[in-house]
């Protein structure tokens, strides 16, 4: 682009073509601005971002931070953005985990695992995401009510009101502190641990230990550490409630996204030269060790770039939640447009938010990629 020689090589004809294109762009932009002025004046809309301070006067199903009917547009949009991030990040984490498991199973020698993984991928990848989400949502809202809800060990409950999960009854900073301590411990001892299973056991044990210590130090005295949802009358108290919309969205996106990620993982594993794994086997390494120490590290280099694209795809896919009335950013923006008429400003906010999030993910993936690149290549 800024290569000087390239500009010097241009002929007169090249310049005419370029200037014509620029003129066309200018005319389109100017025409759009001019029509917007005329059309908005006819509708009686004043443009500008002042409306963000006005209160909205409507409410919606789900919010991470406190919400009320008197909230300003700015706060409502922020809530929508947080909801989008929440669904996106949870889905990315779970879709990646499930995707790696299914992808590895598809690459396995075992016929049973292959069949299972193949069926999974072919089922969830070949039906539109929105259909899967709407279908899951219909099933979930037809579940029995809270009184007959499905339960696991009386700790977690699933009913037509949503998924109720137990939460640790600790201040937020204590949980963060405990997790940070566990990660610190893991990093500190990682060089001294041999074998994957022992490493996993140690990591899990360390986390439980760190959380228990933090709980002893900061937990409320004489009260249970876990807030378990309990049926009181017609509704549940305690724990945390994930709305039906949220569960349907996350479940749908995870199934669909993990089917795609599984194919990415399988492709990456396929590209690892067979000689490398065979060398590992010849040295007497266990199948797990071959996978963790040879196959996966090699495969990751070709997995990460398309995996980043899948993460961006998942972030974008959250917009489909509007079909079941989940209050993500797209839902909030489209409702705000109907209510306030500030179409251009709101679309600008929506697009900027997605450009920002996707740009951030792309940058993170680039960093990860640079970190993993073979040294000296």
């Amino acid at each position: 682009m800024f290569d000087k020689e390239r500009w010097q090589r241009l002929t007169l004809w090249d310049w005419i073509v370029q200037l014509a294109l620029v003129a066309l762009v200018v005319v389109i932009v100017w025409g759009a601005i001019e029509s917007a002025r005329v059309n908005l004046a006819a509708l009686g809309v004043t443009s500008g971002f002042w409306f963000l301070d006005r209160s909205t006067g409507w409410s919606y199903s789900f919010a991470l931070i406190e919400q009320s009917i008197d909230d300003s547009y700015a706060r409502t949009l922020l809530i929508g953005f947080l909801n989008t991030l929440l669904v996106g990040l949870i889905s990315i984490v779970f879709a990646t985990i499930v995707g790696f498991i299914i992808g590895t199973a598809r690459d396995s020698r075992n016929l049973g695992l292959q069949t299972f993984a193949g069926t999974f991928v072919q089922t969830f990848r070949n039906i539109p995401l929105i259909l899967q989400i709407v279908f899951l949502y219909s099933i979930l809202i037809h579940l029995p009510g809270p009184k007959q809800s499905l339960t696991v060990l009386d700790l977690a409950f699933m009913s037509n009101r949503g998924l109720m999960l137990p939460t640790p009854d600790l201040p937020g900073f204590a949980i963060v502190l405990g997790l940070a301590a566990a990660v610190g411990l893991g990093v500190a001892v990682r060089r001294h641990v041999d074998g994957v299973l022992r490493g996993l056991a140690l990591g899990f044990g360390g986390t439980v230990l760190a959380l228990a210590l933090v709980a002893l130090a900061f937990g409320p005295a004489g009260e249970p550490l876990l807030s378990v949802p309990q049926l009181k009358g017609l509704r549940f108290r305690g724990g945390v409630t994930l709305s039906v919309e949220l569960v349907a969205m996350i479940l749908g996106i995870v199934l669909y996204g993990s089917a795609y990620i599984a194919e990415v993982v399988r492709g990456g594993l396929n590209e690892v030269p067979k000689g490398l794994t065979e060398a590992g086997q010849a040295l007497g390494m266990h199948a797990w060790a071959v996978w963790f120490k040879i196959k996966m590290p090699m495969a990751l280099r070709s997995i990460i770039p398309p995996l980043g694209n899948q993460w961006i795809f998942i972030m974008k896919a959250t917009t489909v939640g509007v079909a079941i009335g989940f209050s993500d950013l797209f839902y909030i923006v489209s409702t705000s447009i109907t209510q306030s008429g500030q179409t251009l400003e709101l679309i600008f906010i929506l697009m900027s938010a997605f450009l920002l999030v996707n740009f951030t993910i792309a940058q993170l993936v680039n960093l990860l990629n640079a970190h993993l690149a073979l040294k000296g290549h």
Binding site: M1, D3, R6, W7, R9, L10, D14, V17, Q18, L21, V22, V25, G31, A32, S35, A36, V38, N39, L40, R109, N110, L111, G112, L113, T115, F116, T119, Q122, R125, N126, I127, P128, L129, I130, L131, V134, F135, S138, I139, H142, I312, K316, A317, T318, T319, V320, V322, A323, F330, S334, I337, T343, L344, I347, L350, M351, F354, L355, N358, F359
Partner: protein, 359 residues
């Protein structure tokens, strides 16, 4: 994989099974567990969908019996709504033929004989024109049916075909612009492609449906359906441009230089040397894009089009059929799955075939 010549088929099968399914106790356990789970799932499905199912349209009451399985009566009674939407009942034969025209176009495109630019373009333009004339009707002397009455599967296929037909040349144009030696042309193409690709499709379509009317003077606005189709085609084109770019990159640079050295101009090098190879190189990824596009058409229900998903919701929307949402979604899901799975398998087959041909 074929059996090596020294073994009979049966021996080979047994050998493979031992190696891949029963090599170690753990292998055997996993194989049996998966077989049991799959068998159980298949039995559950068959039991619901076939054994205990109710088939006839008149038998809504039998569906309410306690041990009744799937109530396919809803499909028997409402399949016309799901497939054709609000299209006039007596004219449904036109919708059927029109859908057939699009499906035939897609199937014929899979035959290698059609893989030349002119043949493929003729095929798609003919198929699309056939669809349009049958559905709209007035130019060939049938009763006119306006686009707002189109719906169901036929609307989904219409969106799909028009997006691919419009988007393909747009994508090629964008790819050429992005490869251009003129810096400003390249800049404009890169900005458009990267911008559209970082936005969710829903945002792009919503902008076309709701925002563009503000940005255009009255005389340029056109129907909502055409605005959405053009925006969808632009989305397709931006992804397809990157597919074409990959196809260009696979051609050795020497070929372009050789063309120039022989005195061929830009357009002739492009048409005679580059494009035939680009289309070939890009074929598997192009099929992949076409499949994704077909799947993504489902989201137009959100911006208010009566596509197959909207007509499915309408099919169980009335009182009597309300409990049978599952049957309707399964029916629609199977239609999508059938199309997408077969196109996807065809793409895989092609990829393998071309990989072999290159060696």
């Amino acid at each position: 994989m074929a059996a090596p010549p020294t073994m009979s088929r049966l021996e080979w099968l047994r050998h493979e099974l031992t190696r891949r399914a029963f090599a170690t106790p753990a292998d055997t356990a996993i194989t049996l567990a998966v077989a049991a789970i799959l068998a159980w799932l298949i039995w559950l499905d068959l039991d619901w969908a076939v054994v205990r199912a109710v088939w006839s349209a008149e038998a809504v009451d039998t569906c309410r019996a306690k041990d009744a399985g799937a109530c396919w009566s809803v499909i028997a009674a409402r399949h016309r709504l799901i497939l054709f939407g609000l299209y006039p009942y007596e004219e449904h034969w036109r919708s059927t033929l029109a859908c057939g025209a699009i499906i035939a176009t897609v199937v014929l495109s899979c035959i290698p004989w059609f893989w030349a630019l002119r043949r493929l373009a003729t095929l798609w333009v003919t198929g699309f024109a056939g669809y349009f004339l049958l559905m709209e009707g007035s130019p060939i002397g049938l009763t006119q049916v306006t686009t707002d009455q189109w719906g169901g599967l036929s609307l989904t296929l219409f969106l799909f075909a028009s997006v691919v037909l419009l988007g393909m040349p747009m994508g090629l144009g964008l790819a050429l612009m992005r490869r251009s030696s003129l810096p400003l042309v390249q800049l404009v193409a890169s900005l458009v492609i990267d911008f559209i690709r970082s936005l969710p499709l829903l945002t792009t379509l919503f902008t076309a449906a709701v925002v563009v009317p503000i940005l255009l003077p009255d005389w340029l606005q056109g129907d909502k359906i055409w605005r959405v189709i053009i925006a969808f085609a632009l989305f397709f084109a931006c992804y397809q441009a990157e597919v074409f770019r990959g196809g260009f990159q696979a051609i050795p640079k020497g070929q372009f230089e050789a063309g120039q050295a022989m005195g061929l101009g830009y357009w002739r090098v492009l048409a005679l040397i580059a494009l035939p190879q680009v289309f070939r190189n890009a074929l598997p990824s192009t099929i992949n894009m076409v499949v994704i596009t077909f799947k993504e058409t489902a989201i137009v229900v959100i911006i208010g089009f009566f596509d197959i998903l909207a007509s499915a919701n309408a099919a169980f929307g009335t009182g009597d059929w309300a409990p049978y949402y599952m049957e309707v979604y399964v029916f629609v899901g199977l239609i999508y799955w059938g199309f997408i799975f077969s196109l996807g398998q065809y793409g895989e087959y092609l990829k393998d075939r071309m990989a072999v041909a290159r060696h």
